[in-house]
Amino acid sequence: MVNKIMTAKQAVKKYINNSDMVFVGGFGHAIPFAIAQEIVRQKICQLHLVKTGADIVFDMLVASGCAQSLTCGWYGNPGIGVSYIISQAVASGKLKLTESTNFSMMLRLHAGKLGIPFIPSPILSDGDLADSISEVKSIICPFSNTKIKAHGALNPDVAIVHAQRSDINGNVQLWGSIGDTLDGCEASKKIICSVEEICEQDEILLSPHLTKLPAHKVVAVIKQPFGAYPSYLHGFYQRDEKYYENHSTNSKDTSKVQEWLESVVFRHHDFDSYIQSLPDELIRELKWSGT
């Protein structure tokens, strides 16, 4: 079995290029903050990010200048509010935003997963979003002879994702809320995955129903405990709600945004160093409880 274990530093350097289309895994859960921070640290640029609903990890990729464009159905701070960073980047012309809907993005990633050029769906036939997305085109359904929209496939160059565990070969096990993660990963040409734990092949064989990413397209496995922090990981740690709330307040102020990047990314040579800088008490508080 091929050993795909490497550091986030190595994985980002080797597998993410300027101008790549990047799918960011995690939907309100298991958001790959560690890998995203390394992208920022390495100043990879001109990225085209694609997603259904974009969480605050997108703020980091936009504020740092890594992202040149974003296609998504929603962007903001889940349960809290709008993304000041993305709104300002769009207003100032630094970011090209294509607004869509979560399901249209889901279908476009799913078409990518299926390996077909498009999926038909009646959504985006009407309203002010219709006709604003060039990859959503009108066709005639050959069964009903009525109009329907063809939602064009997305096949990102790379998917970044965080999960509970993997073996060294990239049989990645993920559980809890799934969102768009699996379709986005399968649609992508390659997958970079960070995990809490590396486990033995035997453990995988005992639980093949938990293996969710096909090893043949996982190119890098990064052992990164807390790799989804400040988001949560089912069975491992809770979301840091205060982080999300503070982010909303701080990100209104452009000067504080650079401070934020400095304190969570640039001050640390890697994600472990960042996590070690957090208060022990916080880490204890975030410990997963319940099912």
Partner: protein, 252 residues
């Protein structure tokens, strides 16, 4: 946006963090839900509606969230559609594709949404607002709102009674009230005072709480609506329900 009618009637803009007003709006929405229905639940006020259906009014409804969480027991308030609290009380961890597919197949009886603006035709805006001075304020966007409005068998909107948000024409149509095939689209909007129906094509005051005056409420929201000739009077929720809802809202 017309703001001159704000505070008219002294009912004022209703503040979202007022648990009594939220509960009144949510309970009003539940009057449009029957037992055993499958409900696609948006974040915010829709979660309180879902909680009340399950704990008080229609206990056998099936709750679905866009993250893929299915058969959720909505005991505590989720901050996002994928929050840990609802992941822990979900009986099926499906994917986003799975639940939007239910929607597209026509199996979602009720979509519960909120919006930044709603117009008299039931169109919803969650994308951008234009201020009086012409400045554009960006909002987080459709998310699943457009999709739910097109694909659910019917959509019930729940909103605070803020007249700035009830308009004759929305600034931007994120979710057109133009549903797929024989689905009903946005059938109405519940507020802390009343329920307006769009079933005749244009908003009509259809239900009102017994402690509110129909003429006053109809005039308070800054849009051109009529009072239904078959206006229904709804008793406000019980103290027990208010209490439970308040606990729910404080759990987030």
């Amino acid at each position: 946006m017309k703001t001159e009618t704000l505070n008219k009637n002294n009912q004022g803009p209703l503040v979202l963090d007022d648990s009594i007003l939220q509960t009144r709006a949510a309970f009003m929405a539940t009057t449009e839900i029957t037992d055993h229905q499958t409900i696609f639940v948006g974040i915010g006020l829709p979660c309180l509606v879902a909680h009340i259906t399950q704990n008080h009014t229609t206990p056998n409804c099936h709750l679905v969230f866009e993250s893929g969480l299915t058969e959720v027991v909505c005991k505590t308030q989720p901050l996002s559609t994928a929050s840990a609290n609802i992941a822990k009380t979900s009986k099926m961890h499906g994917s986003m594709l799975d639940v939007f597919s239910m929607l597209q197949r026509g199996e979602i009886d009720v979509g519960l949404l909120s919006a930044a603006q709603i117009d008299i035709f039931g169109n919803l805006n969650s994308s951008k607002l234009t201020t009086n001075s012409g400045k554009i304020i960006s909002l987080p966007g459709s998310g699943g709102a457009h999709d739910i409005s097109v694909l659910a068998n019917k959509v019930i909107v729940v909103m605070p009674a803020d007249p700035r948000r009830f308009v004759n024409n929305v600034d931007y149509i994120t979710s057109p009230n133009n549903p797929y095939r024989n689905r009903k689209g946005v059938v109405g909007v519940a507020t802390p005072d009343a329920y307006f129906s769009f079933e005749t094509g244009q908003a009509v005051l259809q239900k009102i709480y017994s402690d509110r005056d129909a003429e006053e409420i109809n005039a308070s929201l800054n849009w051109d609506t009529k009072i239904s000739s078959k206006l229904e009077t709804i008793s406000p929720p019980s103290n027990e329900l208010f209490k439970d809802a308040s606990i729910f809202l404080n759990t987030s």
